[in-house]
Symmetry: C2
Subunit: 334 residues, 2 copies
DNA sequence: CTGAAAGCGCTTACAG
DNA sequence: CTGAAAGCGCTTACAG
């Protein structure tokens, strides 16, 4: 089957006008007489003409494409943010290119270069690359950094209030009556983890509780290791703050192995509030990041920069809250 | 900060050659003298020149972009396939545009139109849209349909062997000694679900077991409903085939509520083998779809069609296998 | 081996 | 209001 592509010149010929006029009708960029408008619209309708975006992009220097660069979409939190970004992009006529970097700086650089070459309108990136700021120094398109502070060369940053997250999670456990609270502390080179740690420590201090922690990365398997270490070092722990919901899930496994009861022996608070946390058994109390809003704001910032050439607020910190579910419960007599 | 974009003409001037020669050096499309090649490469290196892909696309009518249209990336299986697609695309210098359709035909159509307008090189779609085939009839770019049979107008299809999946899952439960096996049957308008059902029924017949089923959609919440109905209708069920791993997870919840023991009272087999199935407690026996391979093949088919204008095998059915974990166990004396 | 020229399919000053 | 022309930044016949 041969499919004949129709171009703007075909429409022009059919409607007896110039290509310029057709373009004006399509984009509404200038007044066109009613009669010609009608003829153009008819021709477009009849042929199913779909303007070539690439040609338009070349002239406009904008492809209405946004790159989302993350370690991996297999990380549920990043996947949920990606969904939110894609939604907001779609609403505004943009498309999202998904880029999994595996935290590999070369892959990140390759993607940034690709996106630049494509006249992407913006990049949303979450990376732990030391050189990222240098990397995007010569990037002519807006770069929004997610989940960390804005470097010198990026356009803006969006993150949630990790300090408060760490603090209120701890306070919640304290209110529930926990005395031996242990933090599964995420990698301290991530400023999100560092902030949560600080929030945790401050809450402990304020309530005269001794801070304890084990280091924990964000993957499930490493979560299992950390959880084992946790109960080795703190066998009497009665409250645990997991670094993510997935790590909390890993913690469940160890708790199950050790036949500890939740929440009676140990209470648990996760972090992120991904969809999964509501499904776990027992359902997981967790610190909810405003995932929808994070995604929406990242896109909005890019549109703002593209449209006005500047941005109202460069560093954006979104509020978090504790979603109380079955893994925490106020103890009798507290 | 002003970023000066360098163009091919700048390189040409710096190297004292024509743009054509620069292009030839970059693309290796023709012999260029050593001396000029050196000068061009030097200029490119010095300026960090990054060719404008949009301009190239316009001429080449290929943007090296592949669209992945799915109901939602929040579906873990689709997210994992997406990761595999993106990997394979990256390896070949392609980028993936992620499109969540929410099973909304209008969104699907909008995305297909967008992708056509962008000279995308291919579309990978999984949809249950009756009119999809008509939709892509006038689509000049290759369309690979995932998880269902190829319609008349699509380029190719990729799916795993759902009939066998249903059959071997059932046989596994039978071998484990289950007598009252219930299928949580996915929507029968999906041919994948239908095939699994047929495989289940055939396995039952062959072993003189009566087929039983409850209808179940693919979401967690609907899974919970179906699981409740299941034990209402078949309180003595000793083996359950869940329609997906996520539905199996929903089943866990109901089983937990009803204090049934797994695998002693009920054995469970999931479907898909998403990462989550290995993390569940107990770990889930499931029918593994070759996720990596599905993604890779979808991309390969598009490249094949793009490169050769034809495809070796239009309908592709990939093998499945049972991954045995803790939810099934051979009963004593079987 | 190499350059001038045409062309990819649009959009927008410019002139009327 | 409208069209002819130039231009977006590349690539590739074409001619030498």
């Amino acid at each position: 089957m041969v499919i004949i592509l129709v171009h703007i010149s075909d429409i022009a010929r059919m409607a007896g006008v110039s290509s310029a006029t057709v373009s004006r009708v399509i984009n509404g960029t200038a007044k066109v007489s009613e009669e010609k408008t009608r003829r153009v619209e008819e021709a477009i309708h009849k042929t199913g003409f779909n303007p070539n975006e690439i040609a338009r992009s070349l002239y406009k220097k904008s492809s209405r494409l946004i790159g989302y660069i993350v370690p991996s979409i297999l990380n549920i939190f990043l996947s949920e943010v990606g969904r939110a970004i894609e939604d907001e992009a779609f609403r505004n006529g943009y498309k999202m290119i998904l880029c999994n970097s595996d935290e590999n700086p070369e892959k990140e650089a390759a993607y940034i270069k690709m996106l630049m070459g494509m006249n992407a309108d913006g990049i949303i990136i979450t990376a732990n690359n030391e050189n990222l700021d240098e990397e995007i120094r010569h990037c002519p398109i807006p770069v929004v950094v997610m989940d960390k502070n804005a470097g010198t060369h990026c356009t803006a940053s969006v993150q949630s209030d990790n300090y408060t997250g760490g603090r209120i999670a701890t306070e919640h456990l304290i209110e529930c009556g926990c005395k031996k609270i242990v933090l599964m502390r995420g990698p301290q080179q991530y400023c999100s983890s560092k902030q949560r740690y600080l929030g945790y420590v401050d809450a402990c201090r304020r309530h005269q509780i001794e801070p304890r922690f084990v280091n924990s990365r964000y993957s499930y398997d490493e979560g299992v290791e950390s959880a084992r270490e946790l109960f080795r070092r703190y066998p009497d722990a009665d409250g645990v703050l997991a670094s993510t919901d997935l790590v909390a899930f890993a913690l469940y496994k160890v708790i199950y192995e050790q036949k500890r009861r939740v929440p009676d022996d140990v209470m648990i608070v996760g972090y992120d509030d991904v969809g999964l946390s509501r499904l776990m058994i027992p359902t997981l109390t967790t610190v909810a990041q405003p995932i929808e809003e994070i995604g929406r704001l990242c896109v909005q910032l890019i549109l703002e920069q593209t449209e006005y050439g500047t941005i109202q607020q460069r560093d954006n910190v979104l509020p978090v809250s504790v979603k109380i579910r079955e893994t925490t419960k106020r103890k009798e007599g507290v």
